[in-house]
C-alpha cells in the first residue's frame, strides 16, 4: 500500500523504489548503500559518489537547473527537488517510491 507523503518539483523522469538515507555531507559516504534514496537539503559535487549509487534523489531546495536536477538527468536517476521538507518528513530506512516524472514521493507501508 502506498501513501503520498511529499511533493516537489519533478526534476528527472522515472520511478524508483528504495530505502531512504538522509545525507548531510560527503562524510556520510561510508554508510550509503547501493540502491538507497538519497535525501538531502541540496546536493553538491562532494556527494557524487553517493549520487552514483542512489536509485533516486530527493532534496529540500533547488530548481530544475540546480546541481541535483542537472546531474540526475545525466545519470537517468529519478529526482524530485524543492520538496521543502524532505529532510524532516523522511527518515532513514523508510521504504519509498520516488516518482521523478510527477514530483511525488510515496511511502510504501510494509
Amino acid at each position: 500500500m502506498q501513501k503520498l507523503i511529499l511533493e516537489g518539483t519533478a526534476a528527472s523522469v522515472g520511478q524508483a523504489t528504495g530505502r531512504v538515507r538522509l545525507v548531510s555531507s560527503s562524510a556520510d559516504s561510508s554508510k550509503f548503500k547501493d540502491g538507497e534514496v538519497l535525501v538531502t537539503r541540496l546536493t553538491n559535487p562532494t556527494m557524487i559518489m553517493m549520487m552514483a549509487k542512489a536509485c533516486a534523489i530527493v532534496t529540500d531546495i533547488g530548481g530544475l537547473t540546480s546541481h541535483p536536477a542537472i546531474v540526475s538527468r545525466e545519470m537517468g536517476t529519478p529526482c524530485v527537488v524543492s520538496t521543502k521538507t524532505a529532510t524532516s518528513v523522511l527518515k532513514d530506512g523508510m521504504l519509498v517510491e520516488v516518482d521523478g516524472s510527477a514530483g511525488k514521493i510515496y511511502l510504501i507501508e510494509e
Binding site: 523522469v13 559535487p45 557524487i48 549520487m51 552514483a52 530548481g63 546541481h67 546531474v71 545519470m75 537517468g76
Partner: protein, 353 residues
Amino acid sequence: MKIPDWVQPFIDSSYHLWINHDPQSHLPFDAWGLHPYYNELWLKKIYEMVKKFNEKGYKISDYLDYFPNLSSTRFIMLMNTIHYQTSKMDAPEIISSIQDFFVTSLKLRAKDDLFALEKNVELNDDQLNRLLMKRPVRSVGSEESRELGKILVALASLTHGLYNDWCTDLNYEISGPYVKDKKLYLIRSFPDSRPIDIWPEIDWQFKDFSIITEYEDFSAKMAFVGCHITYSASAVEKLTGYNFQIDGKEIMGLEELKKLRETLMPIAASQYEKFMGLGLEDQKIKYVMQEHYQLKKLFDLVGIDWKPTDEMMGKIINKKLIEGVIKSYDMTKAEYAERFGHNKMICAYNGIN
C-alpha cells in the same frame, strides 16, 4: 521606442532560466550580493576590449573561435544586462556596444533559435553528417550506458568546482538536439577542464572532453543554456550509441569507461571541497577571476590583461555581500524585464539613461 530584433527572444528564453531556479541553491555564495561592488568596472573593461577589437579593424566573423561557446556567450550577455541594472551606471553606449558585439557572434554561429528557447544548434546538416562520419558512434550496452552517465556527472561536477555555479557554461556545453534518420544526437563538450590560469595547482593532464551521444524514442529541450537541458525519458535507458574523446583520443568500452569514472569522481569531489574550503574572501576573488577568464581569449587578442585589476579587487575585498539584490525568481515576464535590466537596456539602445 526602438527595440533590437534579438531582445524579445532574449527576454523570453532567459525568463525560463530563472523561473525554474531556486535562489537558495546558488553555490558557493549569493553572487548577486557581490556584483554591485565591481560590475561597473567589469562592463567598462569589456567595453575597452570591444573598442580595441574594432579599432584594430578585426571582423567578428574572423574571430569566432575566440568567443566563449554559445551557451556561455548567452549567459555573459544576460549577466551584462543584469550588471548594467545593478551597477546603477548610466552609459548607454557601453551596454549597447558590448551586447551588439556578443549578439553578432551568436548570429554568426547559432544555426537557429538564437537564445535556445528549444534548441542549441551550432551545426547544420552537412556539418553534423561530416562529424558523424569522422567520429562514428559505437553501440552501447546498458552497463556502459550507466557508466557514461556517471562520467557525465563527474565532468559536470568537476566543472562546478572549477568554475562555480555562475560560469559553468564555459566548460559545460550541450549542443543539439540534432535529429538524423529518426535518431537524436547531443554533443557534450567540456573543453577547458584544466584551467591552470585560475587553479595553478591542478595536477591532472586531461583537458578537453567531447562526447557525442545517440538516442532513440527520446526528445530533449534546451533552456537558454546547454546544461539546463531536460529530457523526455531516461538519458541512460534511451542511449543507443556514443563517441567519446579526451583530448582528441577516443575511449570506448566498459573497462575504459569504468577506469575513467573511477579517476574523475574523486577529482571532481576534491576540487569542489577545495573551492568550498577557501573561505568567503578567497571565493570572492576566485569568482571574479572565473568571470574574467570567460573572455580571456578575447582580452589576449586585443592585448588587455584578462585578470581582474587591482582596483577591482580593492572593491570586493573585505566587503560584506549585499543582501536582497535579487530576492526572488517568482515574477511575471514583465517584472523580470524590469528587475533584471532588460528595460534599462532597451532604453540604452534609444540613448536614454
